[in-house]
Subunit: 309 residues, 3 copies
């Protein structure tokens, strides 16, 4: 039996991609998930504590949290920068210094991230009749969690940190079903309701006060070019005050949805939509059938009916 | 560096929503997830134990589990009741007493919840050709997990506990992709297959023997009224023995799907459907295209063909 | 209060399905999740370690991991085989021996599983413009994780182990939104992008170089026969080099998608598609409407336009 296992171990080593004497060390996912938790505590002080804190104590708590995050993040950034073309031939000391700088620059963006998130919570509360209060939204809404993780990952993406931003957003997708690429640019008052199946591509641009429902894709028309399309704008631009109902797909890098436009449920949009316009699919015809009578069509919906969910 | 972090901490405190001297303490998510695990063990004794139990021992195990749940739940309910309009101006002792009462009332409903869940397992087994046996369903089916958590959350919702029911169902959504609002009313023998993307709104009413597939939305026609729609019935009523195939959307508070009706895949239903009726969308036309010949339409499907998945 | 809890415990025992003196012990989910983690470490050595390993050390690490997996897996297989018709009347010693044999046979398949997974990573890298490098794919792509867990579960399925394969794939579904039944047969270079909502049924057959996007269902036309359909081929066959865009459903056990075919977004396919053919739905018509003008249709898309995402 032991010989068998030795053979298997040998075979699993044969194809090993790591040819270097010392295997590269990758950013550690469990540490990154820990960082997300700590960042959530700094962005919403008091909401994710297990103990009871006085507001005076809260500031010391925040301070020590930020200290911890600062050094842990620098460590993970250091591991990630090994994969950055910019740092690959640098001395370890240079990379270490850069990691600490990046970590601090990231932290200095937290107040702005918090400011944006406050507007997202506001949008969720005013947009969802089922919301009990803002605490419920902060503690339990998947849309807020996914957008928070995206906003944090986006800051690291802007600082050209490899690997970590994507590990963060893929984790948020795993938890929420909402898939936002760290490269997307998203304005204030952003609300995603339910959210399962939402995909927002890496070159998407979204304005302020945009509301999106479950199953919406902001995607590319085709990715059959593969790696050749890497830096091309492949995903749409959504202007301020747009609402996109569930199951809609908006595709293509030149597609612009104008201000105040509304995209109806399941609409499939591959061309720009002017401002103040409602786009919806033609009502899908239904066939009714029962035991005694043959299939018949449903009565047509009223003229001004608008397909939304 | 330390000065930087101090500045950041200060900025993160500025907008802090908690103006009170003592920050309010929220129900603790990790404790609520722990409660869900323990409740699962009481509802399906023996299935989620790591050690081997004799049936005689099982009863003592159940007893001690219920004891633990009782006090832990009371503690979380106490934290949640701070956000209840009814208890906001009460003495701590009154709230504490109410929390214990609510916790016990909840526990007294567990046998009924179990009775319902047994019928759900039965429905999953008889409805799914891929089911190996009932143990597989109890241990691994996401539909059973989501419905179990919903049934527990619904009982707390009926007892007017804020925050906790939604934390529970959002957790189940995170694990299963199935989003059932705690306010929905759902009968016996309920089966959700696959389930990713299912959304069941808070004022939905579902009868017995209903079967739902992945991607089904039981939703509102529009929520653009926001908080003003809070207590309005916005979601449909599904009668007994209805089957709803994948991707279908049934919308609106006055929409009633009659007994024994079948709603076909991707159907979009915004008006009531009579009993014993099959509703399906007109077969979507397909275009075929290959290198040598131009696009042509697919042959029409047979007349009596019914769109299901 | 204690009397109440005693009553509740009694009621929860009444319906207890376990009538035997000693309750059966089920495979333990937390152990199986632990096994998945360890197997991931053996398949991608170095990527999921928290410490820094030299390549020389890596081999010893692999060896000890495989040793651990071998005995832990045998233990879980032993628990699962109680539910296998083949072993139900066997002596414990016979079952124990079989469990160890199965565990070793499973491990001997790991190098093949690794070989397949290397091709899957290759396919993800060449197919996704957003992929930074292969490490990012291995560490963070949900498609790779779901396919890895499926490939492992499929090997246990081939060895007729009950319960464990499904627990594994349902866990992967929970993490990724991708639902692949362990019974499906899937070739090399398989890539699932985004993936939320993907359902691949238990009798599906998929060739090499197949690419699938989010929301694709490879399903049955109807499962209304329930348990009677248990061993019937209900799901489609997908040949080599097929691409299936998001939201498409391909249904039925006799449906074959020929080599090099492309199935467009949201297409609903219930009949075979010849090789080298593109199938797409007729462009969904859109209505545009704004304050001043009535609804009008969108301009028709160009003739050769192909519906993809």
């Amino acid at each position: 039996m032991n010989t068998d296992i030795e053979n298997i171990a040998d075979q699993l080593m044969v194809n090993n991609r790591n040819d270097e004497t010392i295997a590269p060390k990758y950013p550690v996912k469990s540490m990154i998930l820990q960082l997300i938790k700590q960042l959530q505590q700094t962005l919403f002080p008091g909401y994710f504590e297990t103990g009871c804190l006085q507001n005076r104590t809260m500031k010391y708590r925040l301070h020590s949290l930020l200290d911890e995050i600062s050094s842990e993040l620098a460590e993970q950034v250091y591991l990630a920068l090994q994969f950055s073309p910019q740092y690959q031939s640098c001395e370890p000391e240079t990379v270490k210094h850069a990691s600490h700088e990046i970590s601090l620059q990231f932290l200095s963006r937290l107040p702005v991230v918090k400011e944006y998130l406050e507007t997202d919570v506001e949008a969720a509360y005013s947009g969802d009749p089922a919301a009990f209060n803002k605490s419920e939204i902060i503690i339990s809404y998947p849309g807020i969690y996914a957008v928070m993780v995206y906003r944090l990952a986006h800051e690291l993406h802007l600082l050209s940190v490899p690997l970590i931003p994507r590990i963060m957003t893929e984790h948020a997708k795993s938890v929420t079903g909402i898939d936002i690429h760290p490269g997307a640019v998203i304005g204030k008052y952003f609300f995603i309701d339910h959210g399962t199946g939402v995909v927002i591509g890496g070159t998407t641009i979204i304005g302020d006060h945009v509301k999106i429902y479950q199953g919406v894709t902001l995607g590319a028309l085709s990715t059959s070019g593969g790696q050749k399309l890497k830096n091309v704008k492949r995903h749409p631009t959504i202007c301020d005050h747009v609402t996109i109902y569930s199951g809609a797909s908006i595709l293509g890098g030149e597609t612009v949805i104008g201000e105040n436009a509304v995209v109806g449920g399941n609409a499939f949009v591959i061309a720009s939509v002017p401002e103040n316009t409602k786009v919806s699919i033609k009502t899908p015809e239904l066939r009714y059938k029962n035991g005694s009578s043959p299939a018949r069509n449903a009565p047509p919906p009223p003229e001004d009916w608008f397909y939304m969910i």
